[in-house]
Symmetry: C2
Subunit: 516 residues, 2 copies
């Protein structure tokens, strides 16, 4: 952290900043969950929603899924599915039955109750980027992630009020052995953040270790833990139509512990799914319903989030594309399906750019347009995702924080009081006047409008005189200041010690077995 | 053009391009108008719409407008408005009566009938940036506009199929004297484009010259011209609550000739309007209704477009801000008001960035989000606007063409055929396979997805090896190639000669009188 702190201090004396900028804190909205105050968009009719539902049931019943987890196969079989080796054909009646039990909305508990969130309904939550092996910033370039980078992204997720989870999967910690990496990351999440916890499910030990640390972080007994969703995992089916061993195990065990399963088929149209968006959504829907069914067979009523991640590929190169018109359509259709099932809906803020340029920004805002208007309840990768998810970018994180705040501000209900309608102000100013000095303006101007973190609204001459900075340069300043301003949240020393002892013991035991 | 052609050729040998890129045409969607296939968004209730309507009527009735055009005053007076010097207080009955006559949708005629457009209903039309005194590109920098720059923006507007008008006001031609500038620009529009014509109304001679050239361009008699909307003008009220002499004249004369008035109050909240968005919309609505009333008093049934341009200012500096959350809200509310009146709705694609960086992109896409979901029928400044409208940017024009195409593609109805639902493809591929080689994919992949103009989807290594180009660099290539690929549309030589003679005569007569 010392390096970064010094850089931040050094940089704040640099060009292009107002004289008082050095002592100015980053302007943030308070921690709060936005709500979708407008109607979610619809691009398909109710009849078409039913068609997708029925075709997805056809897929599960006729083609079926390859399921590699023994317990999953046995749960499906017990419910009446036809099993033929790995192939499991799930009758529509089984799925329809499973659709009756999951909650449409639930409270998701953080170790700091002030950071609890609601999942479902009109509620929106933003989670940071997850999954990249690499990270980048414009000072140090693109590089494999380390535990310290991973920790920095946890700090950024804690610092920015618009982020509702602790993150922790933003970039992999490749300097720690894979067998015990999850232990160190999970401990860092609890230490460095007091927001919602994520736990990986790519292995039984990893999953149980994660749940155990999530339980200890909140000081719960095992019985209490079963009653309160306190961590979540993302289950990516192996599209097309395959559920591998750890993913099957993950759904079952998380459901049994009443923890949150976010089941997200990664259905790139033209690669892992049909080349048409309608077809890719049928497949997405079939796989999500297979996951939902398994979770409810394991524990009826377990919290489950319908995930959508349908996008297209560049058919010339096979490269995945994000924030495209097809992506937007898929986001909105996914939301329509999730609402059909009264399930919370997960979607993402994506782009395929290689740096934080105009492309990164327009693909991101198109993604957010689709995700928000699609009725997304949990927006994953909301901050920091670059290169189609291959990189966690410090600069993109700072830029996204501004984009997310703008979305939150856009969704904030309008002040429609008589005073806001402004007739007195217009009477005061009259035709041909101006409102700068009006009493109405003076009384309200300080908080009247959203003050952006990144946008540079200086005129051209001022901007040019300060070196013509681009938005990514401002973003570079902002993440450094964010890490400098970041404060570690308090943690009960007894809990900290309990987790330390647990991590030490599990490390000694070898963590998750790996073959390397 | 020679300079530009050479540059384009030179540049096409440069770095960062595929070997065959030199001969590759810019990928465009065919000329077509998109439709808003989803429901427009609503952020205020029907009751709140009525409240804004009533408060706007209160403003017009009680405070009134300062009207500086004598004929406008007399038209308002004859309808029963109370006149006190310049102040005109317009009773709600007068406005309600005027609201009965304008068309909710009409055909707008271009000199090439294939480029006619519909204004109103679900139809969307994109017009290029208008108004800036300066232009810029990254080769030649920022500079005052010339007639040649003006012509280049007409060429770009003609070239890009996603642009539905000839533009021609994209950048002022400061190298031509203001008295005759309009003649040269208008002639260029007819010569270089066959799309919808705009005419300026900042002076009686300019307006009548513009209408006359628009009439000649389509080979119409004066009587025919009165029957078919063939040009439009934008009337900016002098907010707050003032209508100056040329603007009053413009509304009256355009309406009398059955030409299109786009009445757009420029109500920056905190400067020319109350500091609240609700208040600014009340004022916008009052001024738009005053314009509507005048147009219908001059000629009941004349085509009229309700314009909204409410945004906020940076309350620290007074600088106008665009593409903000407040701007998005105003776009959507403006659309709700326009639909309340069954009037076509004009809005804009804006940003306040100083270069084509991430800020320019995210403010633009947020603008488009508000404009499109707000139900905008005519999106002005759709391509090329930078610096809050002080600059017409060649690079931004190319970038916006991509953004507009993406919006059009997003709005395109989904293929929902049985084949598109993809069950056969899923049967063919089966669990765990991939769709690249599937027959379904092979049959469809060439046209399956939108192919972007600007986005760079190469992987990081390829992108870095080609010099890490940013989106604005690609945009720089694209506008040059667009000008190189541009083809002047055919024009009947008799019409060309008639217009030449008219311009020569009017030039000799002195054009519009100026005092400099």
């Amino acid at each position: 952290m010392t390096l970064i702190d010094n850089e931040a201090r050094h940089h704040s004396r640099g060009r292009g900043r107002r004289p008082d900028a050095k002592n100015q804190k980053i302007g943030q909205l308070p921690f709060a969950q936005p709500q979708l105050t407008l109607e979610p968009s619809r691009i398909i009719s109710d009849d078409q929603i039913e068609t997708i539902h029925q075709r997805a049931l056809d897929v599960l019943e006729e083609i079926g899924m390859d399921v590699l987890n023994k317990e999953a196969i046995s749960l499906y079989a017990k419910a009446g599915a036809k099993v033929d080796g790995d192939r499991v054909r799930i009758g529509r009646d089984i799925v329809e039955e499973a659709l009756k039990t999951p909650p449409s909305e639930f409270t998701f508990h953080a170790r700091n109750p002030a950071h609890n969130i609601q999942i479902g309904g009109k509620w929106i939550a933003f989670a940071p980027v997850g999954g990249p092996p690499n990270c980048s910033d414009t000072d140090r370039g693109r590089r494999p992630g380390t535990l310290e980078d991973n920790a920095n992204f946890i700090r950024l997720s804690q610092f920015f009020n618009c982020i509702h989870t602790a993150g922790g999967g933003s970039v992999d910690a490749l300097d720690v052995h894979a067998s015990v990496r999850h232990l160190h990351i999970m401990r860092n999440k609890v230490r460095l953040s007091d927001k919602i916890l994520y736990t990986i499910s790519t292995g039984r030990a990893r999953l149980f270790d994660g749940m155990e640390i999530a339980r200890m972080a909140r000081g719960l007994t095992p019985e209490q833990f079963l009653k309160e969703p306190s961590c979540y995992t993302v289950i990516n089916t192996n599209s097309p139509l395959k559920l591998d061993d750890p993913m099957g195990m993950g759904i079952i065990e998380m459901a049994r512990h009443n923890q949150v399963v976010v089941c997200t088929p990664f259905t790139l149209a033209g690669a892992m799914a049909p080349v048409t968006i309608a077809g890719a959504i049928v497949e997405q829907n079939a796989e999500a319903l297979a996951g939902l069914t398994l979770s409810q067979l394991a524990n009826p009523g377990a919290p489950f989030v319908y995930g959508g991640f349908t996008s297209n590929v560049d058919m010339k190169s096979g490269a995945p594309a994000f924030g495209t018109p097809e992506y937007m359509k898929a986001c909105i259709m996914g939301g329509q399906m999730a609402r059909r099932y009264k399930l919370p809906y997960r979607t993402s803020n994506t782009n395929a750019a290689n740096m934080v340029d105009a492309q990164a920004a327009y693909e991101s805002v198109f993604s957010l347009w689709g995700a928000i208007m699609g009725g997304g309840n949990l927006i994953q990768h909301a901050a920091g995702w670059l290169e189609g998810g291959l990189v966690a970018s410090y600069e993109k994180f700072a830029l996204d924080a501004d984009l997310l705040q703008m979305v939150m501000e856009f969704l904030k209900p309008l002040d429609f009081s008589e005073d806001a309608l402004g007739l007195d102000a217009m009477r005061e100013v009259g035709p041909g006047g101006h409102f700068f000095g009006a009493e109405h303006t003076q009384r309200r101007y300080l908080s009247a409008f959203y003050a952006p973190i990144i946008s540079d609204w200086r005129n051209f001459a001022q901007w040019e005189a300060s070196g013509s900075p681009q938005a990514w340069q401002k973003a570079n300043e902002v993440w450094k200041r964010a890490l400098a301003e970041y404060q570690q949240p308090p943690l009960d020393p007894a809990i900290a010690e309990e987790i330390d002892l647990f991590v030490a013991r599990r490390e000694k035991e070898g963590g998750e077995k790996t073959d390397f």
